[in-house]
Symmetry: C2
Subunit: 351 residues, 2 copies
């Protein structure tokens, strides 16, 4: 089955992937929910589903994926069980609970519902407000908020920079995003709240940073595009913006648009080439709201059952990396060939 | 201050470490609690404390570390705040809640209180029963329990093998430990419970595995000694025991006995040399009960305030790594010079 599925996937599908997806399909007959449970790339999940369907083990029926009698026999013979529900409901599995009732968090919740709608051209798909608040809480807990100079590199549809600014605890927050609607939205709030430490500006991250940003920050945050060259370019630029050892970067990486093959390459880059150390990989920390343009993505076309997602299925892991003496970033322009592959390649399908 | 502290530490102390420890000392006047909050190696924390005391910023008083008036002024000038308490109380920060009321978990809780007492000569210091149950729950959730062949490499004072065996969900659990008391303890329970899938045996992990274990397991678990050569030898042997891509290893790594400098080296070894990918790093997942021999450790001598720990302060991160095609372990004997440094070096002080 793994060999068969490999024909439809960009890299080798090994038996564990088949087993994970089969278990997931015992947990849910919804393609998107199953991917969430299996925690694997859409393209690999779709390849497994296709191989199962061709072997007459699985069928699509009214938008759902159902085992055939033959499939059910196999599941029983293999002793496959649905995934358990051990995720902590109190913290949504993140391990920490943000301070929802502090004034900054309440202000954030008030403003966030008015944010501009996501746009496919910018790969936007915002995380839930609870995710944004939990990220800020984690930063505070790790000592990466108070008195720090913080650089938010894109993905400001998540409103991370705004949330940090509202705490009034950072020394400075520079927020970069290509979407002028979001920058304008935040500028208005900043004025209303009288915030002086947050500076949103329209910026295309394909361009190098001005010299004064190199080595200018304690913390960077980003949600990088997940092709290898784009990841390298984004993270290397974030690292180039860090001041000194002990400075840190935060970013999301999925197993929905990237395989573990690619994660390994990402990890090699960060640890060996850039001289960073990974301090945290928290799976399913980031929950993405279903975006308006789902039907227009390659992911949508890959679902053999055809139905759109009914609930949040797209999650990503939250990474924290820390600079050690000798760390090295890069502030080169992002080359056109990287730019072309910035938001999609053979594994990425949700953009 | 960082430069001063560096004189007393095995590697460079950078300003972030000083800041973290100062914040931690605003959170607690207890040396051990402060280390827990700062999440840094005991030797580095002690170096910072020593530098602070020599600068007349901090003093020891009745077993507690207190700011001097000069120290308090500095804390205020820097705007340092205590660490917040955002850790989720429902899951103790792990993100998942083990199924305490399933029969296997209840059986485990019944037996664990009778386990043999920890022994310093074997570097024993058991995790809490909740930690052991959470590890098993995580394995189930990740698809690393049902029908799997599992190898538990030492640290069985944590009773991981027993807990896995009690679920009756693994295909086979081989439990290795050098402490014959624990092996005998488990054999008795196995007989009483009529378990057939768990095989505890006395084994010195410095010896290579028999040939049939190489490539014989889906999962390995260990809590490796944290010197670089010992870590490499332990983890490489675990990796050598894995069957195929998709097989996984779990282990704890502290930031109490290892610095981030060393974590980076560990990560390079796993990702670049062994061909594994890191899928999870969950900080503070493992909570260690205070062990009977605390007073005899180097850590104890490093506390300038002299008082022993009052509550759990020793925690470690839980790693999960997964094998990708081409992964490579090593089953060589552990050399005498590695053996000598197995349980202590310039960073490790709790053994």
């Amino acid at each position: 089955m793994a060999r068969k599925a490999s024909l439809y996937a960009p890299s080798e599908v090994y038996p564990r992937m088949v087993e994970q997806m089969m278990r997931a399909l015992c947990s849910s007959s919804d393609f998107w929910e199953a991917i969430d449970r299996a925690n694997m790339p859409v393209v690999f999940a779709a390849a497994v589903v296709r191989a199962l369907m061709e072997a007459d083990l699985l069928k699509a029926h009214h938008g759902q994926l159902q085992w055939t009698p033959k499939g059910r026999e196999l599941v029983e013979a293999l002793g496959l069980r649905p995934f358990p529900h051990y995720q902590c409901l109190n913290c949504e599995g993140r391990g920490l609970v943000p301070p929802y009732h502090k004034p900054w968090a309440e202000a954030f919740m008030k403003y966030e519902s008015h944010r501009p709608a996501p746009r496919q051209e910018y790969d936007q798909g915002s995380v839930t407000p609870a995710t944004t608040l939990a990220r800020v809480a984690l930063m505070e807990q790790r000592g990466d908020l108070d008195g720090k100079d913080i650089l938010v590199m894109g993905a400001e549809d998540d409103l991370m920079g705004l949330a940090i600014g509202l705490t009034r605890r950072a020394r400075k927050v520079v927020v970069l995003d290509i979407d002028e609607r979001i920058i304008a939205f935040e500028k208005e709030i900043i004025q209303k709240e009288g915030l002086t430490n947050i500076h949103p500006q329209v910026f295309d991250l394909r361009n190098p940073f001005p010299a004064e940003w190199e080595g200018g920050f304690d913390i960077f945050l980003t949600d990088p595009p997940e092709t290898l060259p784009a990841f390298k370019a984004f993270i290397a630029r974030g690292v180039a913006a860090l001041k000194r050892p002990g400075a840190a970067g935060y970013f999301g990486l999925t197993l929905r648009d990237s395989s573990l093959y690619r994660w390994r390459k990402f990890q090699q880059e960060m640890v060996s080439t850039m001289g960073m150390v990974i301090t945290d990989i928290i799976q399913d920390f980031n929950h993405y709201m279903n975006w308006g343009y789902h039907e227009a993505t390659r992911a949508s076309a890959l679902n053999p059952a055809g139905a759109p997602p009914r609930q949040i299925w797209y999650k990503s892991a939250w990474y924290r990396i820390e600079a050690l003496p000798g760390f090295q970033g890069s502030n080169e322009p992002i080359q056109p060939e990287v730019f072309e592959s910035l938001y999609s390649d053979d594994e990425g399908v949700t953009t």
